[in-house]
Subunit: 333 residues, 2 copies
DNA sequence: CCTAGCTATTACATCGATGTAATGTGAGAC
DNA sequence: GTCTCACATTACATCGATGTAATAGCTAGG
C-alpha cells in the first residue's frame, strides 16, 4: 500500500495537516518539525496523490494540447515545444488528436470540463466555425493559428503578409508565372484563404495578372495529396516558373514529383514552402520557406493560457508571431 | 458552479448513489428511474469530476507516453498511433519528453506513482541501464524498442535481423564497400549496437571483409548530426558504394549532403534508411528503408499494458513486430 | 392476509489532501 | 507570578464519486 499523509504524519509524530504544510510551504513550519516530516516522507517514499489534491483544490496541473494530427512534422514540432515549455513551468500535457472528426472536439470539450484539465491549447483544423463555443463552463482555451472568428485567446502567424512576402520574393528573380499549391474549394481553412489572398495581393501589387489556372487545389496538406495534386496538374498544364506550396510538407511532396518528372529545381521551377519544418532544411534541394519561431508560439500560448486562468473575465488577447522568408536552394539558382 | 451527482440526484428525486449507478451501469436501475436521472443529467449539463472518481477507485484512465523527442518524425509517428489506439480504447494520453536528460525519467517515475496515471509506455534513449527500476511500487510499464535488459514488458523490431537483411539487400546489387552511418563510440544505445552487429553479420556471411573505416559514427540520430558526420567523413575518405543509415532521419540528412557534393544517388552511391517515416517516401530520391507497422507497435504496446494492469505478477512479455526491406529509388538504378 | 425472498434504492463511510477555525505552547511585559 | 500575544500545530469538515451494508418496495406462495 502506498503511503499517505496520514502515514507520514504518524511516523513524524505530527498531524496530517502539518505534513501538508511542509509540502506546500505557505503556512510556516518550525525547522525541527519540518526536518522530521521530510525525513519521514523520505523513509516512507511518500508521493502525494494528485487525484486527491486535484479534487480538493480544483486544479489538476494538467493542460491539454489538441492537434489535428500528431504525425505531421509541423504539428510534431509545435507539440514538442509546447510540451517542453509546459514542463519547464510545471505543467503536465495531455495530447488529443482531433483529426478530421469534429466530434472529437466535442468529446474534448466535455472532458475539458471534467476537471482533469485546467486549460486547453487547441489547433483547430477546418473547424473554424466549429464546436469551440467558448462559454463560461469551459476551461481557459488558447487557439493556435488562423481562425476566422474571435472566439478565444489566440497565437498566430500572419499568413496573409507572409504569403504576400513569399510571393514577392519569388517574383523578385523575375519569375511571373507563379503557381500556388494548397488552395481549397469552397469553405476552406482560414489559413488557406489568407495565404491565397496574400499571394494575390502580391501579384496585384506587382501588376502581374491573376491566373486562375495557377491555383492548384489541395484540400489536405500532406506530401501524398500534394504529390497527387501536382502530378495531375502537370499532366494538363505547362510548368510554372515558380511554385509556392502552402506548407513545407506539401513542398516536399512537390519536390518528389518534380524530380521524378526530370524537372530541375530551381532551374526549371522554383519551389517554396511554409512552416520551416526541420526536414525542409535537408530536402533536395533545401527548401525556401516562411520561417517563424515555434518555441515562441509555444511560450506565448502558455502565457496566454496561464494569464487567463488567473482572470477569466478579461478581454481576449491575440498575439502575432514574427515570421521571415528564408531563401534556400530551392529558389536560388 | 458545476453540477455534481448531488445536484443531479436532487433534481431527479433520487439519491446520489442511484445517479452513480445509472452512470456506471453495474448495479441495475429501474427504467423509469434511469430515465429521470438521465434527463436531470442532461438538463444540468452534468459532467463527472474525474479527479473525484480517480481518487475513489484508484484509477485515472490516463496513461503516459514518454519519448526522447516528440519532434523527431519517427517519434511523432509512433506517438500518433499510440494516441489514436489509446483513444479508441478510452484512454487519455499524457506526453512526456525525456530528452537526453536522465533526470526526466526519474521525475516521470515519481509522477507515475502519484496516481495520476495508470500506466506508462516508455521509449528509452541511451537509458538502457537507466532509472527504470521497475519495482512493485511502480505502475505497469511497457518499453518500446531495443533494450538490453529484461526490465519490463516490451515491444520491439528485431534490429539485428533487419540490419542484416538490409545489408544483404544492398550487397545483392554487387556493392561491396557498404558503409554504415550511426554507430556509436563506447556505450551506445542497444539499437545502435544491434544494427551494427546485423550489418557485420551480413558482411561475414557474404565473405566481405569488415572494414573499420566504413563505420561512420554519429551519436545523435538527426539529419543535422548525420549531415555533419557524413560531410566530415567524405572529406577524408573515398565515397563508399552504399550507405546504410541507421534511421531515415539520418538518411535524409545524408541525401542532402550527397546532393550538395554532386554525388548521384543511387548511381554513385546507394542510400538506405531505417524506420520508414513518411517523408522518406518523398525524399529525393525516395528512400529505401526498413519498414514495419507502427500501428501494430502501438496496439501491441497497449495490449501489453492493459494486460499487465490486470495482472501485475505474471511473467514479462516480449513482442517482436515484423519488418520488411522496402526498396525504393535510393538504391535502385 | 401474512411472510419469505427478491430487487431497487438509500444512508453512510471512504478515497487522500487541505482550508478553516480552534487549540496549544512559548516568550515577553507588567 | 500572571496575562497577553504571536505563532506553530491540531481537529474537523470538505472536495465529488462510489462501495458497503442496510432498508424499502414489491411479488408470489402459503
Amino acid at each position: 500500500m502506498r503511503a499517505t499523509v496520514k502515514d507520514v504524519a504518524r511516523r513524524a509524530g505530527v498531524s496530517p495537516k502539518t505534513v501538508s504544510n511542509v509540502m506546500n510551504g505557505v503556512v510556516p513550519v518550525a525547522a525541527p518539525t519540518r526536518l522530521r516530516v521530510e525525513q519521514a516522507m523520505a523513509e516512507l517514499d511518500y508521493v502525494p496523490n494528485l487525484s486527491a489534491r486535484g479534487l480538493r483544490n480544483g486544479r489538476s496541473g494538467v493542460i491539454a494540447l489538441a492537434l489535428p494530427d500528431l504525425a505531421t512534422p509541423y504539428s510534431a514540432e509545435v507539440a514538442h515545444h509546447i510540451v517542453e515549455v509546459a514542463h519547464e513551468q510545471g505543467w503536465i500535457v495531455q495530447i488529443e488528436e482531433t483529426g478530421s472528426d469534429p466530434q472529437r472536439e466535442q468529446e474534448l470539450m466535455t472532458r475539458a470540463r471534467s476537471n482533469l484539465i485546467d486549460g486547453l491549447i487547441l489547433n483547430p483544423v477546418v473547424l473554424d466555425e466549429s464546436a469551440v463555443k467558448v462559454g463560461v463552463a469551459l476551461p481557459p482555451v488558447v487557439l493556435l493559428g488562423e481562425v476566422s472568428q474571435q472566439l478565444a485567446d489566440r497565437v498566430f502567424v500572419d499568413s496573409f503578409a507572409a504569403a504576400r512576402d513569399m510571393t514577392l520574393a519569388l517574383a523578385s528573380s523575375g519569375r511571373r508565372r507563379i503557381a500556388v499549391l494548397g488552395t481549397t474549394q469552397g469553405r476552406g481553412s482560414a489559413a488557406a484563404i489568407q495565404r491565397t489572398q496574400g499571394y494575390e495581393a502580391a501579384l496585384d501589387s506587382l501588376g502581374i495578372p491573376r491566373d486562375e489556372s495557377l491555383l492548384i487545389p489541395c484540400e489536405k496538406w500532406t506530401p501524398e495529396t500534394a504529390a497527387k495534386a501536382l502530378g495531375a496538374y502537370l499532366e494538363g498544364n505547362p510548368v510554372p516558373e515558380a511554385l509556392f506550396c502552402f506548407t513545407d510538407s506539401m513542398a516536399i511532396g512537390a519536390l518528389s514529383v518534380l524530380w521524378k518528372r526530370g524537372l530541375r529545381v530551381p532551374e526549371d521551377i522554383a519551389v517554396a514552402g511554409f512552416d520551416d519544418i526541420a526536414d525542409g532544411r535537408y530536402a533536395v534541394p533545401s527548401l525556401t520557406t516562411v520561417s517563424f519561431d515555434k518555441r515562441m508560439i509555444a511560450s506565448e500560448a502558455l502565457r496566454l493560457l496561464t494569464e487567463r486562468m488567473g482572470d477569466r473575465t478579461r478581454g481576449q488577447q491575440v498575439v502575432s508571431v514574427d515570421y521571415s522568408v528564408v531563401e534556400r536552394d530551392s529558389t536560388q539558382v
